[in-house]
Subunit: 150 residues, 2 copies
DNA sequence: CATGAAAGCCATGGTAA
DNA sequence: TTACCATGGCTTTCATG
């Protein structure tokens, strides 16, 4: 993973539609070389999926809520049950197991406050592993990127 | 935006490498129809960018830190300065302007605890708009998806 | 040994009927 | 919707430093 590889990773993280020829001219290598490098990066597991991003407001998911969750128990089966549940809920787009006062931090995308109320009361707090939660509404998404630093 | 459109959005959010022919057979429409729908969705601003995702651990960014920030002042120029700063820092991958006790919530990706210490002390807390912060380390990334519910 | 140049195949995008 | 055409990217080969 030399400087050219890092450059390629940075470029494809921002625009996956770039052809190998496009990459070639931007990193100062040949198209074939870029092709080989991309293949090697895929084999090394650096690149995972190629996805299309969508505008949250355009699909009626403009509201972000960050929700801290405290569990009733820290037993393995309780955690597994909750994590499976989280994975099955499409409005939960991120979930981190946390150190500190709270057990999990979720990012939930909803249409509006009413929709979040429904999700919170009927779905999230209804889960048997959940002891309680604390929700915080985002007023604005200042930054969101899928690109990791190279 | 009918059911087929939503189906297309869901598919391309998970795999942008699908060809129009692939889409066609999965949604039960013709390839040309899928092509027109995708173009319309792009024109409507539903689709934004196409990106390659990378494995955080493979590029040495396996540690997530969630950091709450409190500002010295809520004046517009103070906020603008901080938001420009956040946009310029590649290790800050997400930033939400929050309601409640804290002004911002950042997600920061770093290699290890030591790297976060450096970032926090030398970069983040050094910004003139920042009054203080509270950092929480993620023990595990239970879920991360770029796909919004359709 | 990795790179760069060149060429053919093939799949895809795009269009017309 | 189906069928067609042509563009262009992917992939391999070979020569070179």
């Amino acid at each position: 993973m030399d400087a050219i590889d890092r450059r390629i990773v940075a470029l494809l993280q921002n625009d996956a539609t770039l052809s190998h020829a496009d990459l070639a001219e931007r990193v100062g290598a040949s198209s074939a070389s870029c092709w080989r490098r991309v293949k090697a990066l895929e084999a090394a597991g650096v690149f995972t999926r190629t996805v299309r991003l969508v505008d949250p407001t355009a699909v009626g998911r403009g509201v972000n809520v960050l929700c801290n969750i405290r569990m009733r128990s820290h037993a393995a089966d309780s955690r597994q049950s909750f994590e499976r549940f989280v994975l099955s809920q499409p409005e939960v787009v991120e979930c981190f197991s946390m150190s500190g006062d709270w057990d999990y931090l979720l990012r939930v995308v909803v249409a509006d406050v009413a929709a979040y109320n429904t999700f919170l009361m009927q779905t999230l707090l209804g889960h048997p592993s959940v002891a309680g939660g604390s929700s915080h509404f985002a007023l604005d998404m200042t930054k969101y990127t899928t690109a990791l630093p190279t």
